[in-house]
Each structure stands twice: as C-alpha cells, then as structure tokens.
C-alpha cells in the first residue's frame, strides 16, 4: 500500500468537502427564495466520493463530470466564484454564463466538463485517454458518472474500448442508490456495478464512498495503474444522496429509514471524526471557518457580478483558431 495522505492533505480535502456542502446548502436556500434558475443538483452526502475522486488528480489530468458536479469542480481546483457566477448566469462564470449549472467547464483546470446528458461524458473521457496514449503522456482521463449512467450504452462501449486499448482512464461510478427518483433495484440487474469490469478486461474495485480515505486510496491506485500503462480501472463508490434529486425534486420516494441510516454515515461527520484524531479542535474549527468564509465571499462576489449582454448571443458559431486545454 502507498503512503496514506497526511493530516494536512486530509484537512485540505475536508475543507473542500465543507465548501461543497456549504455551497449546495446555500443554493438550496436561494432556490427557495426564487434566486436560482433551472434545476440544481446537489451531492449532499456524496462529498467524500466526489472529493476523494478528484483531489488526488494532477492538474493536467482531466475529468468529465455530470449534472451533479460541484464536488468535482471543487476537488479539481476550480475558482469557486467563477463556478457560482456560471450557476447564476454571470459573464464572469467559466463559460460566461452560457453553460449554467450543468455545463461548467474549465479547460485550464482540466474539468472538461459538467454534462447534462447522462452517460454523455464517458466516451469523451475515452477520447481524452486515447489522445494521452497517442501523446505518450502520463495524463489520465477520469470519467465520473452515476449508477444510473452505468446503464447507458455509452458506458459499455467505452469500457470495452478502454479495456481493449488499455487506455489511461478511470471509470469512477458514484453509486448513490438512485437514478433520479428510481431506486437502483429498478434500474440495475446487479447490485454491484464493479462486477461488470471483468467483462471488459479491467479490474473492478468497490469502496465505501462515504469514507474519504478509502475513495482516495482506490483512486490513487487506479491512477498509478493508468500512468504505468496498465490500462483502466472501474471504481465503484457506494454512497447516498442525502437530499432530493435536484432543487425541483418533489420528494416522497426515499424511505425515511434509508435516509436515517445514511445520515448516520454522513461523510462530513466521518471525515471530521477522523481528523479529530490528528488535529486539535481549534485547528478543525479554523478549517471550518475558512471554508465558510470562502463560500460566503464567493457567493457575494458571484451574485454581484454582471449578466452578459444579450448581444453576446451572436458570439461566433464556429471557432476560427484552435483552442485547447
């Protein structure tokens, strides 16, 4: 086994998890006040998975994310103010407000990008990995997707090609028990998705997705494997969405007992308990304060930022020169 992350590493990830949680809770508040637009998907309860999957990446590694990408944005190092500005449709957003909540992308940070098409980003990550293989580089492409997305044809096709060509890629599946409102038992013929990896010539690994270190470790192993040229890994992180599907969710389908069970496994509480064995209470509180302040400042800035001018609609349909991450 490799060296475990240091207390400092964990504290940094803890702070990122807190940032994600605070951002989403604030977005939910603003939604109720009618200050958001379009659906917003929160990953409350899944922060250990999302941060654990992205924090171990190097800057030049790339991630294709989903409709539920806040943790990935933060873990990959995006500027929170610009993420929020995008969510609020401001011209200072990563996509100048054109993308919105599901289509945040930062080429400079290798977040390429959020995606509102379930399963849509997986073959794109495949292509990125293919590019890296051709380059002979040590970059890795990580496709993050949900248990629902794993039932899309794209996932299967991409797994086959990645396994066949031994591409430097990680399939990271956030198995949160639901695809929109439907429980996995109505969506998947098998309870554990990593078992499918065997059919595609790649290892499949399952981890407790609410255990930050477990996710982080599995991800590091997978990245090492990819960088060594040994090909892709399928990592399944078992986790849970502690809230509704999105801000427009009308609820009613997540049994209370299930909610209670998973609340007891809240990854933020667990990561705090872990850190408490390494840091004293005041250091922990400092981390928490810093996270809260970061979020507050980012919201304040983003919401004060201007909207794009309507004339920006006419921005060119086509690229005239190459631009790339």
């Amino acid at each position: 086994m490799r060296n475990a992350p240091s207390a400092e590493d964990i504290a940094r990830m803890y702070r990122q998890m807190l940032v994600v949680r605070a951002v989403e809770e604030q977005l939910a508040v603003l939604h109720r006040q009618g200050k958001t637009r379009g659906p917003i998907h929160t990953c409350i309860g899944q922060e250990a998975a999302g941060i654990g999957a992205t924090a171990p990446l190097e800057r030049e590694d790339v991630v294709t994310s989903t409709h539920r990408g806040h943790a990935h944005f933060v873990g990959k190092g995006l500027d929170l103010r610009r993420v929020l500005a995008e969510i609020f449709g401001r011209v200072t957003g990563y996509c100048r407000g054109r993308g919105g909540h599901m289509l945040v992308a930062s080429a400079a940070d290798g977040l390429l990008g959020g995606n509102g098409i379930v399963g849509g980003g997986i073959p794109i990550a495949l292509g990125q990995a293919f590019g890296f293989q051709l380059d002979g580089s040590r970059r890795v492409a990580v496709a993050i997707f949900g248990d629902g997305a794993a039932q899309e044809g794209t996932c299967h096709e991409a797994m086959n090609v990645a396994g066949l060509w031994k591409l430097p890629m990680v399939f990271f599946c956030e198995h949160n028990l639901y695809g929109l409102t439907v429980h996995a038992r109505y969506q998947s013929s098998v309870p554990d998705l990593h078992v499918r990896a065997a059919g595609y010539g790649m290892p499949g690994v399952m981890v407790d997705g609410n255990d930050l270190l477990a996710v982080h470790g599995a991800m590091r192993d997978a990245l090492d494997r990819a960088r060594r040229g040994d090909g892709p890994t399928f990592v399944e992180a078992k986790t849970y969405r502690m809230t509704g599907f999105s801000t427009s969710d009308m609820g009613g389908y997540q049994p209370e007992e299930e909610m209670r069970e998973w609340a007891a496994r809240d990854p933020i509480a667990r990561t705090r308990a872990l850190l408490a064995t390494m840091l004293d209470e005041s250091s922990l509180e400092a981390v928490e304060r810093a996270a809260a302040e970061e979020v507050e400042a980012a919201f304040a800035q983003a919401m004060a930022d201007p909207f794009p001018d309507a004339a920006e609609l006419d921005a060119p349909e086509y690229a005239v020169a190459e631009a790339r991450p």
């Binding site: 637009r37 100048r96 054109r98 289509l103 039932q151 929109l180 969506q187 009308m250 389908y253």
Partner: protein
C-alpha cells in the same frame, strides 16, 4: 368541458386509454413510482400496476427498441423520453427500425406506439435540456409527429396517437404543462394530420405549433391593436402536414410568417416556407418570413436565452416585417 392544466389533460388521457385498452402500457424513466418528472403519468402505476407502468433504467436506445418490439407483438406502449434533447439517443431505433417496418415489410406488421417527450426553452435548462428537435423526426417517412398547443388538443391528440397503428412522436413543451384550458368530456379525439385555424384574420397568416401557437396568438392581439388582423394556423400535427389548411389561409391573407421554436436553419420552418412556396406562390404579396431560434446552442443565462428564442414580442416584430417585405 372541464378546465385543466395541459399536464392534467395528458394524464387524464393516459388514464382513460389504459382503462379502455388493456394493451396500452407506459414505460419510461421515473414514470412509475414518481409519476413522471412532469407528473404526466401520475397515479398510473398505483392504478394499473407495475407491469403495465414500468420505471425503466436510463437506456433510451433500448427503451425505444422495447417500444417497437412490444408494439410488434401486440402491445400499445407509450414511452416517455424525459427531454426531447435525448431523442438523439432514440433516433437510430426510430429511423432505422420503427419507421421502416410497416412499409418495408409490406404491411406484415404495424407498430402502434407513442413516444412522448417534451422540449422547448425558457426554463433556464440550458443547451442540453431546451432544444426543439422536431425537425429531426418530422423528416422521417413512417413516423407521425404531433405537437399540441392546448390542453384540449394535448388530450385529444394523445388519445388519437395511442389508437394509431403507427409510431407517433408526441411533442409536449415544458412551458405548456401548467397552462390551462377547457377540455371536452367523453371520448375526445383530435385526428392526427389536421391543422386548425386558432384565430381568423385577413392580413397575414402566422403558422405555428406547440408553445409558439400561444405566442402567436398573443402577438396577434398586439397586432390587432395596431390594426393588423393576423390569422393564426396551429399545425397540431407536423407530419403528416396539413398543407391544405396552410395554403387556404395564405391564399386568403397573401402574407405568411412561419414560426417554429427549433433552430432556424434547416428547421421545420424551412419546410413550412417551402410548402407555402409550392402551394401558394401566386398568392404571395411578399416573401414568407421564417422565425426560429437563433442558430446557436441554447445558452443558459437569462438575457442570452431570451434573445435566442422566439416569443410573442419577436413574433409581433417579425409579422410587421413580413407585411413590410
């Protein structure tokens, strides 16, 4: 007559047809336990059971094939595809399979199924959840395509679609679900293939469908205040197109504006313009004008989205220009 929302009218039609004909079944993502993300399938699973009303995995390709196969052996499936943007995933099964069976097999089988979906912008749902891809299906021989604007037509056309022995793509609009209107009681059927003059007028014909019909009617009121008497033709069915009704109107008004929420270039508006060219050229006092969504991916930010997509004001302006043309 009962006043109800568009979504309720659809829901009622589904309840009635499922009760009337045991062969009707409903499949799709989140259509069962949750009752559909737009609540159109509400109460069906409780009433008709989880065999006839099935929550499916997120597998649009397979679901489209499933509808085809089930129809082929005698069922009358109604498949919900959550957003028209995902129709791209169904298109192979629609174009290469569903559309050819009746004709190529020389009548050996018919495929009585309905693919319900919803499109349109205006909800801040961004580039992957706001499109109007009617042009992609209206081009395909063997498919029927309907796009009702009112609760009454939604209900009557859905009944007709379910009873039709052909594959019918049924296009709803996310901003219409909460609009209300009177819906006739009893066995209310609106025949597929019949347009309808939603407002009579003498100065200009505005051809529209789905939500654009409501916007065109609103525009007609504004125009009326300016002394312009617009006739609004609500297509209701895009394929097979009721060329007769369009031609009759244009031959009367001598001016035409065609409005379609899809992208302008290569959109269904082009077909309407061509049809008027062919059927009413000699009656035209000026060129037919097209109004559609700007030829750009639909941006998220409010000012950009508003600028991109036609509304009543844009129709009003376009009508004035048409008369000046």
């Amino acid at each position: 007559m009962t006043r109800m929302r568009y979504a309720e009218a659809l829901n009622r039609a589904l309840h009635e047809e499922m009760a009337r004909d045991e062969r009707v079944c409903v499949i799709g993502e989140d259509v069962g336990i949750y009752g559909g993300v737009f609540k159109v399938t509400k109460g069906l699973r409780e009433r008709f059971g989880d065999l006839r009303v099935r929550d499916t995995p997120i597998s649009e390709q397979a679901m489209t094939g499933l509808a085809i196969g089930a129809a082929m052996v005698g069922r009358r499936p109604v498949l919900e595809i959550m957003y028209i943007d995902f129709l791209t995933l169904c298109l192979d099964q629609l174009v290469n399979q569903a559309s050819i069976v009746h004709y190529i097999w020389a009548g050996q089988a018919s495929l009585p199924f309905v693919l319900r979906t919803q499109g349109g912008a205006g909800a801040g749902a961004a580039a992957q959840h706001s499109k109007s891809l009617d042009a992609l299906v209206a081009h395909v021989p063997g498919l029927k395509v309907v796009a009702p604007a009112t609760p009454a037509d939604a209900s009557g056309l859905l009944v007709a679609a379910i009873r039709d022995p052909n594959p019918v793509v049924f296009l709803e609009h996310k901003l219409l679900y909460n609009t209300t209107g009177e819906v006739p009681e009893g066995d209310h059927v609106v025949p597929i293939g019949q347009a309808h003059v939603a407002r009579e007028g003498t100065d200009i014909t505005i051809v529209a469908s789905s939500k654009m019909t409501l916007d065109a009617l609103a525009a007609a009121e504004t125009l009326a205040a300016e002394g312009i008497d617009a006739e609004v033709v609500d297509l209701r069915t895009l394929r097979p197109l009721d060329r007769e009704t369009i031609a009759r109107s244009v031959r009367k008004t001598n001016r035409a504006l065609v409005v379609n929420e899809g992208w302008t270039t290569g959109g269904f508006g082009a077909e309407l313009s061509a049809v008027i060219m062919e059927d009413a050229f000699d009656w035209l006092d000026g060129p037919v004008r097209r109004l559609g969504t700007a030829d750009r991916p639909i941006p998220y930010s409010l000012p950009l989205e508003q600028a991109a997509v036609p509304d009543a004001a844009a129709i009003t302006r376009a009508a004035r220009l048409t008369l000046a043309g």
